[in-house]
Assembly symmetry: C2
Homo-oligomer: 339 residues x 2
Amino acid sequence: MSSVDSPVFPAYLGVDVGGTSIKIGIVDDSGQSLAHGKIATEHEKGPENGVARILSFAKALLEEAGVIWQDIRAVGLGTPGTMNVKEGELLHMPNMSGWNFFPIRSYVEEQSGKPVAFINDGNAAAYGEYWVGRGREYDSLVMFTLGTGVGGGIILQDIPLHGDNSHGSECGHITIESGPDARICPCGQPGHLEAYVSATSLVKRAKERLAAGEASSLISVLQRDGVISALDIANHAEQGDVFAKTLVVETAEFLARGITTMMHIIDPAIVVLGGGMDFGGSASPIGQIFLETIRRTVTELTFPVLAENTIIDFATLGSSCGYIGAAGVARKQYGQISS
Amino acid sequence: MSSVDSPVFPAYLGVDVGGTSIKIGIVDDSGQSLAHGKIATEHEKGPENGVARILSFAKALLEEAGVIWQDIRAVGLGTPGTMNVKEGELLHMPNMSGWNFFPIRSYVEEQSGKPVAFINDGNAAAYGEYWVGRGREYDSLVMFTLGTGVGGGIILQDIPLHGDNSHGSECGHITIESGPDARICPCGQPGHLEAYVSATSLVKRAKERLAAGEASSLISVLQRDGVISALDIANHAEQGDVFAKTLVVETAEFLARGITTMMHIIDPAIVVLGGGMDFGGSASPIGQIFLETIRRTVTELTFPVLAENTIIDFATLGSSCGYIGAAGVARKQYGQISS
């Protein structure tokens, strides 16, 4: 690991549980990641086994982080699926049903001997960006996480919006279309944002239009591999394929509708876009077209004051935002207030 | 005024400014309205004149309320239009442009000698329902105010959601439709909830369908008066007109889409429906059909946990919710904490 600034104590253990892998990091009181890595979820072995491997891996990170276990004030834990945040319990975990109804907060507290802050993964990511990422200078933030699905989080004056049933901040499940042609979301409902801007929906839209006879250099990929991916679409857009570029612009326009609704309800200081489906982000010309199209469309759709003032930009923490944010929520709940 | 319970001191002055009239009440620390009334806005005389008449009327209410001016701890002031809540300034006031850019909070503080809490009228109404109305037992609430337009408010753990630019909680400006046939909202944007469920849009939809030849007892009203109103539609639905009833059901279905999006973002404990466009509310069979259709449609559209747990019901404070809520916000900011 590259050299870091001197750690600011106490430190926190941040854990971001996913269906495939679990990201784990030791984060200091200033939000600096001192050491991090990931392990396979291997969910089929059950949650007790997962927690044992999380804690074992965390202890192996201590030396690199330059801290001892006693320096860890608390654990922050973000998970996908549905949950009861107040009770610290997992409810339904997509594709990892062996973890359903597991009282994970109290179990990690027992096994680690540390207090545990429990949060959904979307709000953990949003809190990371709010605390030390793109949103660090602002006091309210909405994050959209664009990937295979669409998630997100909302932070208002340092408080993640969990909702009364731990179902707040479901940024992918905003309705943007309700007519008879509305696309069906993986959740089963029509017209949700996720059904228009996820990687899955991008590929679906591309295949529909190619099947209808539109011309594109993507056809050769489809013929060669039998499938196309969101990354193929991004790459071909980058290489100048007009069809692929149109899909990127269309995705941005759909997303802008969801962002607009969020601005009219939450009116955050900043809207942050994270996840892998960012078309290369700010480093890429296509990522820039994606972002500029979102900004232009939001400006057309929203109130003038919001169009002028609300910042819309890419996230800056990459895939670290989840464990850093989880650590940040642990600091907020159990740490000393040092900033 | 009917007899009230013994006032709980201190008391607050609540003011709900509208384009036509201003509602003013003296509210005690328990949320009980001790005396109230309304005056004409007469906006063309300017804001200084309006404030003078508000304070003069308020002082005339003191005797009925059984309090003296020294018992009034603070003033709560709700206004329509756009504003800067932090700075206490009105920005654009629809149909009362002489009030634009008026620094109303500091002016009322000077003139009254009391601290003033300033809030938009939608959040004031929502806070009233949250404090002592239908939402009094819950710690998060979303209110939709259905009238000529559609407004609303959001209260999370006792805090009204103003937003970073005082543009949060714009419940009428959630997008529910984005196709080419989307209706245009009075704000100029396509597909907003207000364009589907306001009284104005209800009448518009009725006239479109009557013009297209649908049968209804409303045709006689249109022939007699040249116009129909939302109240006519409610009355004819009540009298059994199938066409009018269909319009009520359709309005409920549109509203359910907006409520669903709000539930997926905010996940409040309770959603409250206020304003005049409630088809008679719980006292009326048509109001009951309206509410049941909303509940059934939301159940179809939302996540099972939310469908099961989230309460959806009519508001209980009627047109008093605005001044009571404004008083409540004044109590929250400047009062003693007695509950």
